[in-house]
Symmetry: C2
Subunit: 208 residues, 2 copies
């Protein structure tokens, strides 16, 4: 998806000669900047003027890459989601379900530990809801969770709700952990959410 | 809290003679209208003009009760949270923990079934986060969950994270259920989240 957007941006680029790589590199630079800004401050406190100034480009060029501030924000969320999914790619090849779950969760907690405030801002409720942001989150949750607990990804409707529930458990516990990292080790948190996953799977098996 | 705001509003009321009851009744009417509007459409699509027109009052009078659109929105969230908490008040007196949990969850699902879209809009992620809305939600979650599972409300840090996690499980599974109400009964969902609560409590007991 990002590639296609960059290509579109390149097609309508300003007259300055600009290689394809330039456009992609610029886009990556802007996304990294956006992730840093939106991740550390509320959305309303980040201005397009400030982004352009910090990036050392004109507002016009910034709008060329991202037509509105909202588009810019959504693109940073999409980028962050893609990074999280990429990090948990490896566990898919693992045969042992428990090892896969543990490795995937470690990758997740690494990610959250690095992007604490951004993760918090993204998941905390805002004013009203946003369809596009919600859709990116839902898709990421599904990809992430079915990779981790294939067994729970049953075709059964109650099983699907249980899987969503478990992801909600991990997210809520993680948000709580970000505020008490000095008192609860990452390993203790990880082992707890693994126990919950195992209990949920067992409980669904007993039911069916 | 709402009483104090109404009193303040009454003190600076327009010159038209207006009884205390009038002010409170008007405030309640506006909050009910706001809940209906914000609950059925995204925040950005609700305008103060429309609210005033629908309520049959001037924009000036509306701003008198709620200085900004955001204040108005936050007040409707606060009102909804207070209603949810009030509904789960009874279980507190119950001695049997399982009965308490079941009754509290039934009240919660009644509430969600009534306010489906509003509940979804509130919990779905938006553009950026809002400190005040997040604080209301966190407080409601804590009141609600400690009422339901007193046993989980341990002073232990990991136990606290488990309680937060379980609330996240209930919320995520409930959001999923709103989209599959025709295929999963409320009782099946309720029994599942109860089993998870029991498993979490047991697992924490084994650990300590």
């Amino acid at each position: 998806m990002p590639v296609r957007r960059s290509a579109a941006a390149a097609a309508t680029s300003p007259p300055v000669p600009r290689s394809r790589l330039d456009v992609d590199a610029r886009r990556r630079q802007l996304l990294a900047l956006g992730t840093a800004l939106f991740g550390s401050r509320p959305y309303d406190e980040v201005s397009i003027d400030e982004v352009a100034r910090t990036a050392g480009i004109s507002k016009g060029l910034l709008y060329h890459y991202f037509p509105t501030k909202r588009d810019f924000y959504v693109a940073t969320v999409r980028e962050a989601a893609a990074e999280l999914v990429a990090r948990t790619k490896r566990p898919e090849q693992m045969m042992d379900p428990l090892e896969r779950l543990r490795t995937g969760l470690d990758a997740f907690f690494d990610y959250v530990a690095e992007h604490g405030t951004a993760y918090e801002n993204l998941l905390r409720s805002g004013i009203g809801s946003d369809t596009e942001v919600a859709a990116i989150l839902d898709e990421t949750r599904e990809t992430f969770s079915t990779r981790l607990i294939e067994k729970l990804a049953v075709r059964d409707d109650l099983g699907r709700l249980a899987l969503r529930g478990w992801v909600g458990f991990v997210e809520a516990a993680t948000l709580g952990w970000l505020g008490s990292r000095d008192r609860v080790s990452r390993e203790a948190l990880r082992d707890m959410v693994i126990r919950v996953a195992i209990d949920v799977v067992k409980s669904l098996e007993r039911k069916s």
